[in-house]
């Protein structure tokens, strides 16, 4: 037996010739069973994420709901400030985390939201009568931006 024929042993003693022959006869490649991969793939596949439980998506959904309420109220019921203010309070309540704010903070946010919604209703009313007026459109964008910022602020405020 040459040195390349035998497997190295820890203590460098020659292998038993019978064992060496059996070892040489072993197959070089072993194919995995045909039904192995599906099981492995099942274990490797990422767990399906419950996307509707993502916190950012919940906040985004709340903001979309708020925007929808604003549009509905200011387009169709914006002539009277009282319903607008009520809608503002409802919109704020739908933002996640607002219930954890100090009562004074939530009350102040509602007051500001009511002011914004009144301005929004006024802008939309004038725009309906004078479509395309660039000054009114500019004001509308300003107030909408401020409304969005106010709702976003809820998420940045410390909880009491």
């Amino acid at each position: 037996m040459t040195t390349t024929d035998r497997m190295p042993a820890p203590d460098d003693e020659p292998l038993d010739p019978r064992l060496a022959r059996l070892a040489r006869e072993l197959p070089r490649d072993i194919a995995p069973p045909a039904d192995l991969w599906p099981a492995v793939r099942g274990r490797l596949a990422p767990r399906r994420r419950q996307w509707w439980r993502e916190p950012w998506l919940q906040v985004a959904a709340a903001l979309v709901a708020v925007a929808a309420i604003t549009l509905a109220v200011t387009r169709h019921g914006g002539e009277t400030p009282a319903p607008v203010a009520a809608a503002g309070a409802t919109a704020l309540d739908s933002v996640p985390g607002v219930e954890a704010l100090a009562p004074e903070t939530a009350a102040a946010l509602r007051r500001n939201l009511a002011i914004i919604d009144s301005a929004l209703a006024e802008s939309r009313r004038v725009l309906a009568a004078d479509p395309g007026n660039p000054d009114v459109e500019t004001m509308l964008r300003l107030v909408e931006r401020q409304r969005l910022e106010l709702l976003r602020q809820v998420g940045r405020l410390p909880r009491s």
Binding site: A102, T105, R111
Partner: protein, 290 residues
């Protein structure tokens, strides 16, 4: 009755008043540009920059209602008043914090007033109801409140301020400035800004200062009145747009709008800066500084 048992009985019977305040005295090593995250929801917080590589916290905390946490690394520290009691149920902590001048601050409060001075790093703070005062020349300021007033004095290069109903006052403004309120008034003055945007829903806006050549000042409000107090030698291309507000100018007559919804245009001096004002019902006044 023997005197010793009587004294012991009295000690047991008479309640010992708890300490009204727990004193605070902590010191932590810190890098020159340490990031400090501080939360003191109720009470007051004063942060001052100094020339030492140490963060020192002193002050007092009402006994039994909370604890002060202060810890972290030289590069990043957290300081927080923590306790089981709801924030509104105690008088709040009084914190005096000294930090390296270059520190970067992230400060939160509910109703605690916040005063910051002597910082050259970045400041980012938010308070719902507390008053905010910042002095000095930090690299940048971002401050936001719900109803708390915000006052900035100094010369920060970049300032972003926002409040719902609080008054915002900026003295010595220069560089890049953005100020926004819903119903609070805005008062900006004292410097030569290069780029400023001031906006409100219902709050009045008062600007006193100059606009650097090539700079811009943009003012928007729904129903707040706008007053721009400009130097007599101002050079600016001015656009004034309003739906139903009155317009007046001490710089000469303002021509009528060329078409409905189009802004009125006035050129002052060399017209090197750009000033734009838009309102819905708010009045616009251009006033010459004395």
């Amino acid at each position: 009755m023997r005197p010793v048992p009587v004294a012991l009985a009295l000690l047991v019977a008479v309640p010992v008043p708890a300490r009204a305040q727990d004193p605070i005295d902590r010191r932590l090593p810190a890098d020159r540009d340490v990031a400090v995250r501080l939360a003191n929801l109720v009470g007051s917080t004063r942060i001052t920059g100094w020339d030492r590589d140490t963060v020192a916290i002193t002050g007092s905390l009402p006994a039994g209602v909370g604890t002060l946490y202060a810890g972290g690394t030289r590069a990043a520290l957290k300081i927080a008043v923590e306790g089981p009691e709801a924030a509104e149920r105690y008088a709040g902590a009084t914190l005096e914090v000294r930090v390296p001048r270059g520190a970067r601050l992230l400060v939160k409060s509910t109703s605690a007033d916040i005063a910051i001075s002597g910082i050259t790093g970045e400041i980012d703070l938010g308070s719902a109801l507390g008053r905010v005062t910042i002095e000095g020349a930090p690299r940048s300021i971002v401050a936001e409140t719900v109803t708390g007033n915000i006052e900035v004095a100094g010369a920060p290069a970049s300032v972003r301020l926002r409040s719902g109903g609080g008054t915002i006052i900026v003295r010595g403004a220069r560089g890049d400035l953005t100020v926004s309120t819903v119903s609070g008034t805005i008062s900006v003055g004292g410097g030569a800004i290069t780029r400023a945007r001031l906006e409100s829903t219902a709050g009045a806006i008062d600007y006193k200062g100059s606009v650097a050549p090539g700079g811009s000042l943009e003012v928007q409000t729904h129903s707040g009145d706008v007053t721009l107090r400009l130097p007599p030698a101002t050079g600016a291309d001015v656009e004034l747009g309003t739906v139903s507000g009155a317009v007046s100018s001490e710089f000469g007559p303002v021509p009528p709008a060329t078409a409905k919804g189009r802004p009125r245009r006035v050129t002052l001096g060399d017209g090197s800066a750009a000033i734009t004002v838009r309102t819905f019902t708010g009045a616009i006044a251009l006033v010459k500084q004395p």
